[in-house]
């Protein structure tokens, strides 16, 4: 049974009007944004809430660059600094981006090290929200549009997720992608966008609605059955649905009833797919904990994509705790170790079902963190490094421009906060293009893209 959203068809003209009202954007294709799709592709966004201190994730491991890093981070932890001892860094051998420096990874990330060296993962360096290319001089003296409320958690989370810059926006870039392709995926049994970590701006859209699950997938209603022969369980469910289907006078009752109805409609399909004999359980593959559980469920849903007639999916998973104002050294071992192990497990699970070419995983985070220490941690900054992973990623490379990690350098706006040299718009557009969004629609997905020279950062193979 196809899940038809009648609003999708009724609201086409108003959607066009909504996009037209946004300055600088033209809704190029009312039907379309890629497709019809013969193949299956999925994006998995892994959001690290709090602002990941990524200069301790991807680190220059030798020479003048390491010395600069050591000094900028106020030395080693025993001296109140944040720097990782040189000997502890896990060496990597990038095929790109290592002309100026040698690199190593945080000691907790040996699984990511392997992924990188095997060509399954790459980094994008010093990426972050920008409206337009920005120099330090322009940042200090004005004359360039900046994302508002830099260094504020929720605002920068919103920036990464919506790419809105100075505009107000109720939609995120994954939501806009789903809206663009919606008439090409009407057979899908599940929404294009699915979150295992609650509502988010990233997947908010004008037309389509993200499906929200728990870390283990959707939850069933106790006592309900969709089998007409199931007796009272069936009666309970039917009664519940008829109550939801009543005519309500209040917009709030109607909205509430709608969510409940979506929950009932989707849970059978999605749980059915998750529980099918043909869907692997991936026992023992994933680390325990919230993130491992979410990724395991995503892997299962990807395995079941045929059952659900999916062609394009965007999954949102997340984990928190990255706001390391205090106790950073100890906390990062757990935080980054978890990221590394969970991502590696996910990639291994995809390989075991032959889906590694069709899934690209990428990280986002509120911001990077100050190079300088506040005593035992770091504060909010701006540009940071992200990870992209998948069989169709140009692996073993560092994209973007990794800045020399020193205080007072060309991009430093104070305390070792770097102006990004690559924009989040460019990052998103590269992923959206791989997802199947045509070039002409990328400006809808990434509204500030036209302000930057490169529309494609090149980290996807095809």
């Amino acid at each position: 049974m196809a899940r038809i959203n009648r609003r999708q068809f009724l609201k086409t003209t108003s959607a066009a009007a909504a996009f037209a009202a946004t300055p600088g954007l033209a809704y190029s294709q009312v039907v379309g944004g890629g497709g019809p799709f013969d193949d299956y592709r999925a994006l998995v966004c892994l959001f690290m809430f709090g602002g990941n201190d990524s200069f301790n994730m991807l680190v220059p491991r030798s020479g003048a660059a390491y010395s600069a890093y050591l000094a900028a981070r106020s030395g080693l932890p025993e001296n109140g600094g944040l720097a990782i001892p040189q000997a502890d860094l896990l060496p990597i051998s990038p095929l790109l981006g290592a002309d100026e420096m040698d690199f190593g990874l945080h000691p907790g990330m040996s699984a990511l090290q392997t992924l990188f060296e095997d060509g399954k993962a790459s980094f994008v360096a010093n990426v972050g929200p920008l409206v337009e290319p920005t120099t330090r001089e322009q940042f200090v003296n004005g004359g360039v549009a900046l994302p508002p409320q830099l260094f504020s958690h929720n605002d920068q989370q919103d920036q990464w997720q919506s790419l809105k810059g100075n505009a107000t926006s109720r939609t995120g870039w994954a939501g806009r992608m789903a809206d663009l392709i919606r008439t090409n995926v009407t057979d899908q049994q599940m929404a294009t966008n699915a979150s295992l970590f609650g509502t988010n701006l990233f997947q908010s859209a004008d037309e389509t609605i993200a499906y929200i699950m728990g870390p283990n997938g959707p939850v069933e209603f106790f006592g309900f059955s969709s089998d007409p022969n199931a007796g009272f369980g069936y009666e309970q469910r039917s009664t519940f649905e008829r109550i939801l289907g009543a005519d309500y006078e209040s917009v709030y009752e109607r909205a509430f009833a709608e969510v409940q109805q979506r929950a009932i409609d989707s849970v059978d399909n999605v749980l059915g797919a998750l529980r099918a004999d043909t869907t692997p359980t991936f026992d023992g593959v994933f680390p325990t904990g919230q993130l491992g559980t979410q990724l395991r469920t995503v892997a299962q849903l990807i395995a079941a994509n045929g059952d659900l007639q999916m062609k394009r999916q965007v999954f949102f998973v997340a984990t928190g705790g990255f706001d390391t104002h205090d106790n950073q050294v100890a906390d990062q071992l757990d935080l980054l170790g978890n990221i590394s192990n969970s991502m590696a497990a996910f990639q291994a699970a995809l390989e075991s079902i032959g889906m590694e070419q069709q899934v690209t995983t990428f990280t986002q985070s509120d911001f990077g963190r100050t190079l300088s220490s506040n005593g035992d941690g770091s504060d909010h900054a701006w540009g940071g490094h992200q990870i992209v992973m998948g069989g169709n990623v140009n692996g073993q490379r560092i994209y973007g421009d990794y800045p020399v990690p020193e205080i007072g350098g060309l991009l430093d706006v104070g305390g070792g906060r770097f102006i990004p040299s690559t924009s989040a718009d460019q990052y998103a557009a590269t992923l959206a293009r791989w997802f199947g969004i045509p070039d002409v629609d990328l400006d809808i997905v990434a509204p500030n893209l036209a302000n930057f020279a490169e529309r494609d950062l090149g980290f996807m193979i095809a």
Partner: protein, 554 residues
Amino acid sequence: MKTMRLITVIAPLLLGLAGCGGGSGGDTTPPPPPPPPPPITKSEAHQFLNQATFGATALESQQVIDMRYEAWIDDQMAEPASLQLPHLQSLAAPGVMPFELQDDRVDIWFRNVLNQDDQLRQRVAFALSEIFVVSQLGTLSNQPWSLGDFYDLLAQNAFGNYRELIEAITLHPAMGVYLSMLGNEKPDPVNNIRPDENYARELMQLFSIGLVELNIDGSERLDPQGQPIPTYDQSIIEGFAHVYTGWTYANSPSFRGARPTYFNQVVPMQLYPDFHDTGPKKLLNGVVLEANRTGEQDLADALDNIFNHPNVGPFMAVRLIQRLTTSNPSPGYIERVARVFNDNGFGVRGDLGAVVKAILLDEEARPEFRMEIDGKIKEPLLRLTQLYRVYDAQSESGKYGPGFINILLGQGPLQSPSVFNFFSPFYAPPGEIRNSSLVAPELEIATEYQNTQLTNYFLLQIFVYNWMIDRNDPNSNYNEDTILINFEEEMNIANDADALVDMVADKLLGGEISDTLRGEVIGILGLIPPEDSLVRAVEAIYFISTSPEFAYQR
């Protein structure tokens, strides 16, 4: 003419006098006394109590009918606050890990909101806790006493003055820890230390004035180009950040050596002047604090500067209205309440008691004012407390667990995932509400996942964890802390479907139930043998308590 007016005023007081007074012609019969207002119906009382308490009960409804709204409010405002800290302090003992007492903090919250008399005060404190957010999640996980004391602060100041409230909040160590004002130092350029901007930003953005300038009716002020006007910029944030320097736990041996203790986490922070920035500080509206003043002087003037910003009235009006009565107040409603904030009628600005009264007594708070968009969705905790109050929820031990209620319901007292609360005042679910430019904050946590969890929790509570449970059955997971509800009354009349539905509709919906809901419940009762009174009562309560009309607060 003056004489006649005087007489027509006095006349009703003088028995038997009519038509007296001079003046040229005209009728001078005294006007009849105004007719008494119509009695408040059960349904209206129920609706009012869902706005002003943790769930309407029959007993309380009768009080509202007898006293009428304003007297009931006045009576409530005279009730002293039920507190959390004394209970939490009584549980402190060697070997008890502080984080374990977070469960007890949630327990005492339930005891207060379910069973204590200061219902309006507790309801307002809860609303304030969703605006001035601190949370057990994160840096305060080991400070249950600090969190309990913070909540008590909100309860005690619920009807007090906003200016005093924000000062008390600013100096409370729970807020100091949560938003990094505690231990915040003056700049030290040599060591790359600048004052933390967290509190400076959030106090303005979330607790007082917001990001853009507002008219008194809550609408955004626009510049000549039609753009909203930011209330502050980075330089002002830095100005305030420099104000909030030099404060830490009271009686600490040194500023940098300050650590939380059992005692200092419940008293206001103390100023260490050596760590207070003494430079000039740029504040709102062009105000610049001079250099070389004390931390106390800077703080007082900074809070005055914020307090006197014209945004505060409409900002707080919208948020409190949204917490209590409706998600989408009209500009008129906002303005009426904001004016009361600006002046309570006695020349006082910031009288929260007057504001609460204005919100609850406004014509827009009454049902059937604007059918489609009035009211709001009850947040999950309030749906649960309403069910609990109606059905006398309690455990053998007297405790209310579980502690991590936020995992089950999507929210819990002082368990917000961030300073942005469980939901945003601006959230609009996709579809009709968003397309009509309306908001429905509570729906942000009403996801498929969360709603199903809550529906299931209700079924479990009603079907399994009621007073009929077999306490000795090992499969029931029963222990002395298990919360049980009691619907003996329903069971006693369960063989009569109409009477059963009427009773539950009365208790949970104030007597107003849609034909559909009524018909469906009667229908399913028809499938259950009349003598199976437990299941019949369960089904009636389950379907009504999980219905959209129960979720809706008119």
